[in-house]
């Protein structure tokens, strides 16, 4: 018998890791761009640190992607796609996507407000959008999924 609970738990762990890794990876790249533009003593050292963070993040993302492929094979082998992607999953997925959309709108508003006070680089703004677009729905899915149905019998 396939333990679908374990598959669901593993999927949530993997998604949590992927959301965190993506933030670290793209956050490192964004920090690198910010430090590269900054004009202060020791900025080069911070650029090098950000480079290391984004390299580590990129490698971790590669690892997480491989783990995702392995996980998908496990699910396929167990013929458990329909079970773990049941209607509760689809509802939570839709809610997480809606949350991601709202987070994107909030980021857009924030960027527009900030633009009135400081000059924003397009690359930085696009990267911020990318981070929110990926991390917000993934994070929301994990939180919503974790909150649903905890008291097992």
């Amino acid at each position: 018998m396939v333990d679908t609970n374990m598959l669901v738990r593993d999927r949530n762990r993997l998604l949590t890791a992927m959301a965190g890794i993506f933030v670290v990876w793209q956050g490192g790249l964004m920090a690198r761009d910010l430090f590269a533009m900054a004009d202060f003593a020791g900025a080069d050292r911070w650029v090098a640190i950000a480079d290391m963070i984004d390299l580590a993040g990129g490698l971790a993302w590669l690892g997480a992607t491989i783990l995702l492929v392995v996980f998908m094979r496990r699910v396929k082998r167990a013929e458990a796609q329909n079970v773990i992607n049941d209607e509760l999953f689809r509802q939570i997925q839709a809610q997480a996507m809606r949350f991601g959309f709202k987070a994107m709108l909030a980021t857009l508003v924030l960027a527009l407000v900030l633009e009135a006070f400081v000059e924003l680089e397009a690359e930085i703004v696009i990267r911020a959008f990318l981070i929110v677009a990926v991390a917000a729905p993934l994070g929301a899915f994990v939180v919503m999924s974790g909150n649903a149905g905890e008291d097992a019998e």
């Binding site: 609970n5 669901v8 649903a148 149905g149």
Partner: protein
Amino acid sequence: MTAAGLGNRLREHRARLGLTQAELAEKVKVTRKTINTVENRVFVPSAILALRLAAVLGVSVEEVFFLED
């Protein structure tokens, strides 16, 4: 979708058959969490899932799900 207005006797029918949430979930091909959220009225199942649950429990769907005042 939350289950405001929709009551159910899923837990009672499941207990009558001596099934755990995981065992019932396996029979209707959903996760244990889905059964748990339906029982706790957090999640409103689709008509198809409601019918499958009733069929597995050997009762009519009205005996499992009902509208609350």
